[in-house]
């Protein structure tokens, strides 16, 4: 309680007005209030007033990592009470949170980046970009992947104000948007050097290299229980049902774009997928919308095994001290390349392209590897990882190629089929003793 009050203290009224409604709205669709709270508490988010006078660097308040031991209702009440006390009118602001990174020198351009990526991961890259382009203010708006898709579609159809850069881990969403003609074409020496699977039409570009991993809590899973293929994992769940019952977590594929993307790659031509779903169902898998939620549950020991998590976030958690073991599956490894494009209607397209170019440049890649996403196609995997030394030459790679094939992932009928299968397996498993 004390820590929360301290945390909220530096926030201004306007900051809260933008925080609170979005917080509620984002949770309304959520199946699990507990997860929502965990997400809020886990996230390292800096709030600022988008339209007010830019905050001074020193006055930016940080919500430290909160050990979330109370229920969401308590928090909501608490926050509402503070708001009422402060006389804040609750505005119907958009669902996402916007953070402003003021230009380091005189501000010439405001670049509005709309992303479905942890701001904590993107911030070092934004700062480094601003070191190169000191006159650019970056407004970073963070969404869940599906929200971003809806917003970007609206922008594409001209129903909403423009975005300058759309960035998402759900590359199938981006490919769909590009296919529908929402993106502007861009060619530069940097983009032309990229491998062909990380770009499409010179419009959408993947700038990261992130394997889907299995994460084990070191405290809960003894080393002999660590499994390195999906088949072995199924065997473990079968052989020790009581140990891992309700202790394995993965994405809720109906809510998480990246979870659905990974699942559809698992479903593609592997016979193990059906058995895996069945095993997960029987083990009463815990599903969540977001990587951060899953990681915090794993770190806190509420979960023992996390399946198909984004490797870079897992490494981030390990580096922050979480007792986790990150395993790269040895049967095959799905690799995601987080992507971005500049919308056709972008007001600051040139700056958008410049940021894109930075992300793809050697400097941006290095920064990304050191501070945000840790993996790289060309270099050895981080030392914390239990996996082959060189991913790209391991023969395990199943990269999610950015291209029209991803439209199949976006197919409505296919999606419904996968979701139905998912629900059937997980719910039947939940029902079975």
């Amino acid at each position: 309680m004390t820590s929360l009050a301290l945390a909220l203290l530096p926030l201004s009224r306007n900051q809260l007005s933008s925080l609170i409604p979005s917080h509620f709205r984002r949770r309304t669709g959520s199946t699990s209030p507990r997860n929502a709270l965990a997400h809020r508490a886990e996230k390292w988010t800096r709030f600022s007033a988008p339209n007010d006078a830019p905050l001074e660097e020193e006055s930016i308040g940080w919500i430290p990592k909160v050990e979330s031991t109370f229920g969401s209702d308590a928090l909501a009440l608490r926050v509402a009470a503070i708001l009422l006390a402060a006389g804040v009118t609750i505005t119907t602001a958009e669902a996402a949170e916007t953070t402003r990174f003021p230009a380091m020198q005189h501000e010439n351009v405001i670049l509005s980046v709309h992303a479905a990526t942890d701001q904590a991961a993107m911030e070092p890259l934004i700062r480094d970009f601003q070191a190169l382009s000191p006159n650019v203010t970056v407004e970073y708006t963070e969404y869940l992947t599906n929200e971003l898709f809806i917003q970007a579609t609206a922008v594409c159809e001209g129903k909403q104000e423009s975005m300058d850069l759309v960035l998402s881990s759900s590359v199938d969403h981006l490919v769909k948007l590009v296919n529908d003609g929402c993106a502007a074409r861009y060619r530069s020496p940097t983009t032309l050097r990229m491998p062909s699977w990380t770009r499409w039409r010179d419009e959408v570009f993947g700038f990261t290299f992130e394997p889907a991993v299995i994460v084990f809590n070191k405290d809960l899973v003894p080393p002999e229980d660590v499994r390195r293929t999906r088949a072995e994992l199924i065997d473990l769940l079968r052989s020790k049902p009581e140990t891992y019952q309700g202790k394995i977590g993965t994405y809720d594929v109906s809510q998480s774009g990246i979870g659905y993307l990974f699942a559809s790659y698992d479903a593609r031509g592997t016979t193990v997928f059906g058995r895996l779903l069945e095993a997960l169902g029987r083990a009463q898998v815990v599903t969540s919308c977001c990587t951060t939620d899953l990681l915090s549950d794993l770190s806190a020991g509420r979960l023992a095994i996390g399946y198909n998590l984004i490797g870079s976030y897992a490494i981030g958690a390990v580096r922050r001290g979480a007792p986790l073991r990150v395993v790269i599956p040895r049967d095959y490894t799905v690799v995601l390349s987080r992507a971005a494009f500049v919308p056709r209607m972008a007001r600051e397209a040139a700056t958008g392209f410049r940021f894109l170019d930075y992300l793809l440049s050697a400097r941006g890649q290095q920064k990304s590897r050191e501070a945000s996403f840790y993996f790289s196609a060309d270099l050895a995997v981080p030392e914390e990882v239990d996996g082959p030394m060189w991913l790209s030459s391991s023969g395990l790679l199943r990269p999610i190629a950015i291209g029209p094939e991803l439209l199949a992932v976006q197919d409505r009928a296919k999606r419904e089929r996968l979701l139905a299968e998912w629900r059937r397996s997980t719910s039947s498993g939940a029902n079975s003793p």
């Binding site: 590009v178 296919n179 529908d180 003609g181 062909s196 499409w200 039409r201 010179d202 593609r268 291209g403 029209p404 094939e405 991803l406 439209l407 199949a408 197919d411 409505r412 009928a413 296919k414 089929r417």
Partner: protein, 467 residues
């Protein structure tokens, strides 16, 4: 001054270039047309293949039609790596199972497995659309399901462009070769003209010999025209040179005589001798005048033979008038002068002025050297000849002299220039006629001018009787 026209070379090149240019454009258009067809053909296979793959995945279960578009269908389409893909699957009742709802719908639904391919526009992009049908056998939902797959044209266009550019490069290379060939051919073809030019340029200005060059058939006419022209020029120059030499000689002799007469006259003191001398000077002067006239008349005749336009001339009237004006009012003896004419007018095609000059010279000659008592001018005509005869009863010219007297300055007489017969001969020759003599007989000595007669309606005679 020669008007400077565009060079033959550049004219030919312009025409050939225009033809080649038009040909290249036409071939380029044709190449683009066929390349588009070829590109469409190639990519249509992928499109239809993908549509079939999706159609294969349509199935019915307990009355519900579903579809599970295979990833391989999208991978097939993504072989044209940069193209956008739009698709839609309709169940037999026409409701959309999956895909883009507003994608071009088919009316009525395709009820055959045969793919239907067409062009269209979707979301502002030009697309190629394939529609395939699949028959669903199900008790409750039987009918034709349709799969519509559309793909943007970028890969097709770039393939078509690629093919066109390659075809055009070939066409351009071929055209270039042909053009270079044509350039050489034209240079070769025009080479004889340059040879003629070099030949004429390097010639001595006085050299009027015919060109002796091997020439192609096409410019033989030009060369022979040049040669004819030079021939005529050489003839005229020779004539003029001879005439000038002769005239100078002829005038110098009587002038010298006149000068000595005048010397004598100035030294003479006796009045009767003075009178006699003066009479001689007068005679010499008039002779000199006559000579000069004849020289000029000869020059005129030669000149007219070259330049005068031939016209129909009525010979009878011309002869009569000439006779009347040529006979002087006073003669030192009695001469009987008569004129004989045919009943009809006689036309020839010629130059009235020179014919009159020729005839009058003959009459003068006859009166001066020939006729004792009689001078007769006859105009005769037969079917194709018109003849003028000048007859006198004088001594005539012996046959041995006939050839010589036709040339100018032949005479040995001190009073005659000997030009009269030469003038007549020249005139008749210029008219393509004959100049003859008839030996002295009872009738007398005759000088005959024979011309070619013209008559009949084809050449209506226009008499030149006024001059």
């Amino acid at each position: 001054m020669i008007e400077r026209g565009r060079s033959l070379y550049s004219r030919i090149i312009l025409v050939i270039g225009a033809i080649f240019g038009a040909g290249t454009i036409a071939l380029g258009a044709a190449a683009w047309f066929y390349a588009r067809i070829a590109a469409d053909d190639a990519y249509d296979r992928l499109l239809v293949g993908a549509a079939f793959q999706i159609a294969e995945s349509i199935y019915a279960q307990e009355g519900i039609v579903s579809v599970d578009p295979p990833v391989s269908a999208f991978e097939t389409l993504s072989l044209s790596s940069s193209d956008r893909i739009f698709y839609k699957v309709l169940d037999p009742s026409g409701s959309v199972l999956t895909g883009y709802e507003d994608l071009a719908s088919v009316q009525p639904p395709v009820a055959a497995e045969e793919p239907m391919i067409s062009d269209g526009v979707y979301k502002g992009f030009p697309v190629r659309i394939a529609v395939v049908g699949r028959h669903i056998f199900d008790p409750t939902a039987s009918g034709w399901a349709n799969v519509i797959v559309a793909q943007t044209r970028e890969a097709r266009t770039s393939l078509a462009r690629d093919l066109t550019v390659k075809a055009l490069l070939l066409v351009l290379a071929m055209t270039g070769l042909a053009f270079i060939g044509v350039l050489f051919a034209i240079r070769r073809a025009l080479e004889p003209l340059a040879r003629i030019e070099r030949e004429l340029q390097s010639r001595d200005p006085k050299d009027l010999n015919p060109l002796d060059l091997e020439t192609p058939r096409e410019i033989q006419a030009l060369v022979s025209t040049i040669n004819r022209f030079m021939d005529r020029l050489a003839g005229r120059i020779a004539l003029m040179q001879r005439f000038i030499a002769d005239a100078a000689h002829q005038i110098r002799t009587p002038l010298a005589g006149l000068a000595s007469q005048v010397d004598l006259l100035s030294q003479e003191v006796r009045p009767e001798r003075r009178e006699q001398q003066l009479e001689r000077v007068r005679e010499r002067t008039s002779e000199l005048g006559r000579l000069t006239n004849q020289l000029l008349s000869h020059a005129m005749v030669i000149h007219r033979a070259e330049v005068a336009n031939f016209e129909p001339v009525e010979l009878v009237a011309l002869a009569r008038q000439t006779l009347m004006s040529a006979v002087p009012l006073a003669l030192d003896r009695d001469v009987d002068i008569s004129f004989e004419e045919p009943p009809d007018p006689v036309f020839i095609f010629g130059d009235a002025v020179s014919i009159r000059e020729a005839l009058s010279n003959l009459i003068h000659n006859a009166l001066k050297h020939g006729a004792d008592t009689r001078l007769e001018v006859r105009v005769l005509a037969d079917q194709d000849a018109a003849v003028i005869e000048v007859i006198d009863d004088g001594p005539g010219i012996p046959a041995s002299e006939w050839q010589r007297v036709r040339e100018p300055f032949h005479t040995k007489s001190s009073t005659g220039s000997g030009l009269g017969l030469a003038i007549a001969g020249d005139v008749v020759r210029a008219h393509g006629g004959e100049f003859r003599f008839r030996e002295r007989s009872d009738d007398g000595f005759a000088v005959i001018l024979r011309f070619k007669r013209v008559h009949g309606p084809a050449e209506p005679p226009r008499a030149d009787e006024t001059s």
